[in-house]
Amino acid sequence: MNVETLQKKVEEQILDSYEDMYRLAYTYVRNEEDALDIVQESVYKAIKNSDRVRQEAFIKTWIWRIVVNTAVDFIRKNRKEFAVDEVYETGKEDTYKDFDTIQALNVLDEKERAVIVLRFFEDQKLKDIAGILNENTNTVKTILYRGLKKLKIELTEGEPGYEG
């Protein structure tokens, strides 16, 4: 595939999934303003580097990866601010809806959150999550179960990720 076609495919994928990108970013920063910044920057990076996706089938995985990295970078750069947040200074968070359940994700670290969100909310395969996070599949599985344990959630048979 030539470079122009690839860029077009990346753009199509972005226009198709920018709302998903926003939700994922939101789980990291939990406020509209920052999530919008992360999405805009991720979109910019994806188009700018579109010639680095070697295969059409991996465009979506690759875009997830950019969003996760951009969100994590964003948090690191603003670490002080978020540290204040953690001490019950929740003023920065939006209050238009009571996201009790989403708030629960706060107990997770960056990787655990990404794995839980991508696996259960975005229905990504473990293998693809491994690609997104640059971990191998076994490690992702370990992170997944560690995350579920922290959330005190036990999977029942038939749920995605259940292993008996």
Binding site: T27, V39, N134, E135, T156
Partner: protein, 306 residues
């Protein structure tokens, strides 16, 4: 008892309010990137520093078929490069066949070349000619069979595009190589690099080990160099990732094997090829490492590398 919290969370997640501004911000990101890319393109053209690479672009899998011509090899191997005499054998593509099949959105177009190997006196070397053509046939049959199986499995309702084309990439005193580029587009799939090498001296297939002198430690020399290259590339570019120091050591790249996929590029350098998922996350596709000739020059047989 079933824990519904994950489902509740998913519902809340899916109903995270999407701000009206989002689409606008996405467009801004796209425009900004496009503008910068255009500017960079303009600058490159002005200064005429256009770089052409032969690298396989997205979705293209390279497969390579090489015939190693070891003419007069018994005597010449021990001699210096300049003493290698005029080659005795010639390999060429004489004709090709084409397989085309299209079922709704599933399409295959496969070109199958026929190679002829001639002796010094101009007569066709039947045995070697048959061997190489049989190898090509097995390879293309496999691709065709896979396509037909996918059509059958999906009842012709899938989406797939398979395109196989070839070109002669090396034709020098020692080596004649045909490269197959397989373009495979599907919802998801794995792609593999397939390379055959035929040693004309014996008529047998050779692998990576076959281009090196006996009892040389090419495996460690090449493996160490690949690890160095992985580290350098990752340090230079955050988008580049290899399994090298990941959390589960058994998944990390440690060493190549003596039958590791390879080819020799236009510059006469040895190139080591890995399938996708083998040493890197899937989005990296299949990856290649060019090995500097100076680190293997004492190990390799003459005439292969430059």
């Amino acid at each position: 008892m079933k824990d519904n919290r994950l489902e509740d969370m998913k519902v809340d997640y899916k109903t995270i309010k999407i701000p009206e501004e989002l689409r606008q911000r996405v467009d801004m990101g796209i425009e900004q990137a496009k503008k910068e890319k255009e500017e960079e393109k303009g600058m490159r053209q002005k200064s005429k520093v256009l770089v052409f690479t032969k690298r396989a672009a997205g979705g293209v899998v390279a497969a390579l078929l090489a015939i190693t011509i070891m003419a007069n090899s018994g005597a010449s191997i021990a001699h210096a490069m300049e003493q290698i005499p005029v080659i005795g054998a010639i390999a060429k593509i004489v004709t090709f066949r084409e397989y085309e099949n299209s079922v709704n959105d599933m399409e295959a177009k496969i070109k199958i070349p026929e190679v002829s190997i001639e002796n010094e006196d101009g007569t066709v070397n039947q045995e070697n000619t048959e061997k190489i053509n049989k190898s090509i046939q097995e390879y293309t049959d496999e691709i065709i069979a896979r396509f037909e199986a996918d059509v059958k499995a999906s009842g012709g309702e899938g989406y797939q595009e398979v395109d196989l084309d070839y070109s002669v990439i090396t034709d020098n005193d020692r080596l004649f190589s045909i490269r197959f580029d397989e373009l495979l587009v599907m919802a998801s799939g794995t792609q593999n690099v397939k390379i055959y090498h035929i040693d004309k001296k014996t008529g047998e297939m050779i692998n990576l080990k076959g281009i090196f002198k006996e009892n040389t430690d090419f495996i460690n020399v090449i493996s160490d160099n690949i690890k160095e290259q992985m580290k350098e590339q990752m340090a230079a570019d955050e988008m580049v990732m290899y399994w090298l120091d990941s959390e589960t050591p058994e998944w990390n790249f440690k060493s190549i094997t003596e039958d590791r996929t390879f080819y020799i590029n236009e510059a006469g350098k040895l190139v080591i090829v890995f399938d996708e998922y083998e040493v890197a996350p899937g989005y990296m596709g299949s990856v290649e490492f060019e090995i500097p000739t100076e680190i293997v020059k004492d190990l390799v047989q003459e005439g292969f590398l430059q």
